[in-house]
């Protein structure tokens, strides 16, 4: 069986108990959770009482934001406490001792504010008067937009932008926004907002305000409004524009607020047993709650708070507790003490004042007491205002617990022009200020009227998230204080009338939420932080170590340095750069100066394809600096080795070009040799000739060879009929007459022997004489002449080939008379001769090939069937033989050897003609030829040897 922890004192109680056995706080919520929990509250809707007990059972899911319109869920702020950054917790812990100071100082400074709220108080920088942790509230309000999601989710998930500012003054005090939750605690009146005067119309007597964001009112607050449908208590809250439509309260605070929904109505406020959410109550709050319950009765709230706070409560809470000490004269129970949340009722002061002390008498004393906080004065004023000028104020849906404020402070509020600004200030904060300034009357007007300016003057150095967090935390802390305040404040209005049971939310409020009440010190220290740091760290969930380790003192020092404009960060960065990081710096950073100098001298192209390149084109017109060209020597630079090589080459060339005098190889005169050769030849030719004439034996035997023409000449001549004209051409020179006469002798013998008519003609001038000479020397001529036959010497045929042609064509026209001047062609047998072909044969005796060719070529076409025979010298055979081979010549006899053969064949001519001239020449010819051959051979051999010896001798001498 589980026990129930008292939400106020935190002690365990049996489950069956409805009130804490220790502190008397209600353990079970009065209201149940309505069915339409998720319904949103519309403007004009009546508040519905809801039980927030079930909300307590809802596990707070970290990071799960609550959407608009969703039912508030119970959130365990203890978990949030753990979720807070360590640095924040550390700061809170470390700042606790100073918190009392920070709270005490503003009170000392604001010791002389005007106690009456009717007079407008000049704007005053809230940052000056407020403690540090409160300044964070201002900034958080101005920078709510930068609240991180996680924090926004904690706050209910609504964006600040969706919360329109009811006041014309756009610079809504952050304190107001932070105090909205408290305003909602009082049940934000919706209809009254439209009826009341806005805050900027504070000069007006009507302190009404227009709560624009009615939709933004959280459900828990709506549920809170439902029980307080009576428009009395909410009048004071309804006049506060800050309450309108601002749902900036953090989730934890929502959960804090939701808890009282199930709690008992304010009726149990004074008695305030531990609320349902007492288990989440932090220790300090527990101690705070337990202190009055255990140590003092509720009546001794102010006195009993000191020993309680001396034990465990933080300093700021001590200050909160100390504040009522000044107001110990105040009535113990405020008029609306029944409407206070249970956790507030659990506070020592509240419990002390609410339960034993009657509420009716307290406002008078409280209003007249100087030590009474200002917010109580405002409450008085506010409460008086509706009574005077705003009759509808009591019709507004004000929470019941606030209705006591209205009743108590109706009169002063009617005449206070500063009520409007005071409405923007959370009531609890106003109370705080009033409390914090022990000497000051705690004029809420002066404190909150300056908030707009202070909001504008607030330094935005702190991170928004931090500020918001601080704000939330401070708001939570203030909530705890607010409970005290409410415990203190209520006497004025609440004492005059009964407000009925406390709203449900008050019964469900868990005192555990104000755990973050230590943050104000940090807020005050970081108010000068630069905004850049805020933005950088705004969304970081995990706070860096340096930040977590940063003490408030360090933060203040750093902020002071930054304020002085010292460039500390740069210096620190350069000094703290590790060596390994410096080693990793690029080389360009080291040699940057050098490269920069080089690059400066080069022009970078800015256009074209070379754009971006540096130094690719000359920066100067032309090709460069104009300067005088260097003078180079035209003299060839030659080394010693090259000179030696050149000299060697020159010597070689000179040696080659020098005419080399060749040694004359003068042969001996060889005149003797010539004579010797001539003698040998003469002897060789002469001796056989002599011997032949003497009919001695033949030295050379007869030849056995056959004629080259195979006897054609002999056969043709032999075949010539008798008395036919035969043309014999004597075209040889006298030099070769010896050979030709010897060669032609057998042929002429045969012709003469045949008794043919010979017509002699010659194309050579000496031919006719040679012809005569030949015929005269031939042995058979005599016989021929003697027989009556005459030959005709046609003489010389001039013109060469032309003469031959002419003679061939017209022999009678070419040669009309013979050598003796006698006409040739008129006598018989020559009369028949008209043309060359009329000759029976043409025998050409020539030693010249050309002459023989002329006869063949010129006379050949005119020969017809007349054979042409040719007796030629041996030297002309190579040139004439082709014609014989071609058939143009019918017979060919060349040289003495063939003549010898031909002569040997003329056996019919007689032995004389058979062994005629050729026979005589045959031996001489043979011997002379042999001797010549031997001389040539011998001479060549001797000559070669002699020359070889001479060359060998020369070579030996040269070597």
């Amino acid at each position: 069986m589980a026990d129930v922890r008292c939400p106020m004192c935190g002690k365990l109680n049996p489950e069956k108990l409805e009130e804490c056995q220790f502190c008397g706080a209600r353990l079970k919520p009065v209201l149940g959770l309505p069915s339409g929990n998720s319904e949103t509250i519309k403007p004009g809707d009546e508040p519905v009482k809801r039980t927030t007990t079930d909300l307590e059972k809802v596990n707070l899911t970290r990071g799960a934001p609550i959407r608009p319109g969703e039912a508030p869920t119970k959130k365990n702020t203890a978990e949030l406490e753990r979720a807070l950054p360590s640095w924040l917790r550390n700061l809170r812990n470390t700042k606790r001792p100073a918190e009392g100071e920070s709270l005490a100082e503003p009170t000392a400074e604001e010791s002389s504010p005007s106690p009456v709220a009717s007079k407008p108080v000049p704007a005053k920088d809230s940052s000056e008067g407020l403690p540090d942790w409160l300044t964070g509230l201002n900034q958080a309000a101005s920078e709510e937009e930068e609240v991180p999601d996680w924090l926004a989710g904690m706050r209910g998930g609504k964006s600040v932008e969706s919360a329109p500012t009811p006041a014309a003054d756009e610079e809504l005090s952050p304190g107001l926004s932070n105090a909205d939750w408290m305003a909602r605690l009082g049940g934000e009146p919706q209809e009254p907002a439209s009826q009341q005067t806005p805050a900027n119309q504070s000069a007006g007597s009507t302190p009404t305000s227009t709560p624009a964001g009615v939709d933004d009112t959280s459900d828990w607050l709506k549920s809170f409004q439902s029980p307080s449908s009576d428009a009395q208590a909410p009048a004071a809250f309804g006049q506060s524009p800050a309450l309108a439509g601002v749902d900036d309260s953090p989730d934890w605070l929502k959960s804090l607020q939701s808890a009282p929904t199930d709690a008992q109505p304010p009726a149990a406020f004074g008695q305030s047993p531990a609320p349902a959410g007492a288990n989440d109550t932090p220790d300090w709050l527990k101690s705070l709650q337990s202190a009055p319950t255990d140590a003092q009765p509720p009546a001794a709230f102010g006195q009993a708070s000191e020993p309680a706070g001396a034990n465990d409560s933080p300093d700021w809470l001590k200050s909160l507790q100390s504040a009522p000490t000044d107001a110990q004269e105040l009535p113990a129970a405020p008029p609306g003490g029944d409407n206070l949340p249970e956790w507030l009722s659990g506070l020592p002061g509240i419990s002390a004042q609410s339960s034993p002390t009657p509420n009716e008498n307290v406002p008078a004393e409280f209003a007249q007491t100087e030590s009474m906080p200002d917010w109580l004065d405002q409450f008085k004023q506010k409460s008086s205002a509706p009574e005077s000028g705003t009759p509808a104020a009591g019709a507004e849906p004000v929470p019941d617990w606030l209705s006591s404020f209205d009743s108590a402070a109706a009169a002063p509020a009617a005449t206070s022009p500063a009520a409007a600004p005071a409405e923007n200030v959370p009531d609890w904060l106003t109370n705080l200020e009033g409390k914090s300034g022990p000497t000051s009357p705690g004029t809420a007007e002066s404190a909150f009227s300056s908030e707009p300016q202070s909001a504008g003057n607030l330094p935005s150095d702190k991170p928004s998230w931090l500020s918001q967090l601080q704000t939330d935390v401070s708001s939570a802390q203030d909530a705890a204080q607010h409970k005290d305040d409410f415990e203190v404040v209520p006497p004025a209005p609440a004492s005059s009338k009964e407000t009925g049971p406390l709203p449900d939310w008050l019964s469900g409020i868990e005192p555990s939420t104000p755990f973050s009440s230590n943050t104000p010190a940090l807020i005050g220290d970081n108010k000068d932080n630069p905004p850049g740091e805020q933005s950088e760290n705004a969304f970081s969930m995990e706070t860096p170590d340096w930040l977590s380790k940063l003490n408030p003192e360090q933060a203040s020092e750093k902020a002071a340095d930054i304020a002085e404009g010292q460039p500390e960060p740069n210096n620190l960065e350069a000094a703290e750069l590790p060596s390994w990081v410096r080693a990793m710096r690029p080389v360009e950073s080291v040699v940057e100066s050098k490269t920069a100098l080089v690059d400066e001298n080069r022009v970078a192209e800015i256009s074209g394809p070379l754009a971006g390149l540096r130094g690719v084109l000359p920066s100067e017109p032309g090709l460069g600096m104009l300067r005088k060209p260097p003078a180079y020597s035209t003299k060839l630079q030659v080394s010693d080795g090259q000179q030696r090589y050149a000299a060697s080459l020159e010597r070689l060339i000179v040696d080659e070009t020098d005419p080399r005098v060749r040694k004359a190889t003068s042969l001996p005169s060889n005149q003797i040799l010539r004579w010797l050769i001539a003698l040998l030849l003469i002897l060789a030719v002469g001796l056989p000739l002599i011997s032949a004439n003497t009919n001695s034996a033949q030295i050379t035997p007869p030849t056995s060879l056959l004629p080259s023409d195979k006897g054609a000449t002999s056969q043709i001549i032999a075949g010539l009929p008798a008395n036919v004209p035969v043309l014999v051409v004597f075209d040889y020179d006298p030099a070769l007459s010896g050979e030709l006469e010897a060669v032609a002798a057998p042929i002429m013998d045969q012709l003469l022997f045949k008794k043919v008519h010979l017509a002699l003609i010659s194309t050579s001038p000496t031919g006719p004489i040679l012809a005569e000479h030949f015929l005269q020397t031939t042995p058979l001529v005599k016989d021929y002449q003697q027989s009556g036959e005459q030959y005709v010497n046609l003489g010389y045929l001039a013109g060469g080939p032309l003469g031959i042609l002419y003679f061939a064509g017209a022999p009678t026209q070419a040669v009309t008379v013979g050598v003796n001047g006698q006409p040739v062609w008129g006598t018989d047998p020559w009369q028949t001769i008209q043309k060359l072909s009329d000759f029976a044969a043409v025998v050409v005796l020539t030693d010249n090939a050309d002459t023989g060719r002329n006869w063949i070529e010129q006379a050949g076409p005119h020969l017809g069937n007349t054979p042409m025979l040719m007796v030629i010298s041996a030297q002309a055979e190579p040139m004439i033989r082709p014609y014989f081979d071609s058939g143009q010549l019918k017979g060919l006899v060349s040289g003495l050897s063939e003549a010898k053969i031909y002569e040997q064949s003329n056996q019919s001519l007689g032995q004389t003609h058979q062994f005629g001239l050729d026979n005589q020449y045959w031996d001489s010819f043979s011997v002379g030829m042999l001797v010549a051959e031997l001389i040539i051979v011998a001479g060549v051999i001797l000559g070669v040897l002699t020359d070889w010896r001479a060359r060998h001798k020369d070579s030996g001498v040269e070597a």
Binding site: P701, L705, A798, G799, M879, D885, L896, V940, T946
Partner: protein, 221 residues
């Protein structure tokens, strides 16, 4: 081109074509000489007469030259005088012999046979000695392949031409000589003759077409 050149060219080309036509159309179908043949013979007669007269002009030029040498008493004037005398004597003997003056005939024939014939024959005989001597000195002067070939060929022809005394014909050498004269030497000679024939034909055509004018005022004239 001057008129002289044109005229001579036209005359040359005309006579050229006439002689050529005589070769082609000189003989009629009956074997008689045609007109073109007659024209050809006429032109040839003029040419032969001109050629005979040219010999007379040449003899006259020789007489003038040597007379000038005698007259100018130049070196060899004596020989020139002998030449001129021999010329005149021979010329006279020839005229006299033409008219059947017996002394003139005999003197004229003897002069030729006694002077000119032996002289020329002797010169030819000296050629044998000179050639032999040249053959001996050939290899000593220019010992190369052509010299050796030339000398060897001449030696073989000599050996093969004449039978050896007391031995007669050496069949191998005779056959070798016949082979050399009928094949290699004949081949070379035919080549030369063909070249001469082509050259003569080309020259005749060039003259016929006027491309070559050796008679003056022409390209080569």
């Amino acid at each position: 081109m001057k008129f002289k050149g044109v005229f001579s060219t036209v005359v040359a080309i005309a006579f050229g074509f006439l002689v050529l036509a005589g070769y082609l159309f000189g003989v009629n179908a009956g074997g008689t000489t045609s007109v073109m043949g007659q024209i050809q013979l006429l032109i040839l007669n003029l040419a032969v007469t001109l050629a005979g007269f040219a010999v007379l002009v040449g003899v006259s030029n020789l007489l003038i030259v040597h007379t000038d040498k005698i007259r100018h008493k130049q070196k060899g004037a004596l020989y020139s005088a002998i030449l001129i005398i021999a010329l005149l004597v021979t010329f006279l003997l020839g005229l006299l012999a033409h008219y059947d003056l017996p002394i003139a005939k005999s003197l004229f024939s003897d002069a030729f046979l006694s002077i000119q014939l032996p002289i020329e024959t002797s010169l030819m005989a000296l050629l044998v000695v000179t050639l032999t001597y040249a053959s001996i000195r050939l290899l000593r002067r220019r010992m190369n392949l052509l010299s050796i070939v030339f000398l060897t060929t001449a030696f073989l022809i000599m050996v093969g031409t004449a039978p050896w005394p007391f031995l007669g014909d050496v069949p191998i050498l005779s056959s070798l000589r016949t082979w050399i004269t009928q094949f290699p030497a004949s081949a070379g000679a035919r080549g030369i003759l063909l070249g001469v024939a082509l050259g003569s034909l080309t020259t005749g055509l060039r003259i016929l077409f006027g491309s070559d004018r050796p008679y003056g005022s022409g390209k080569n004239g």
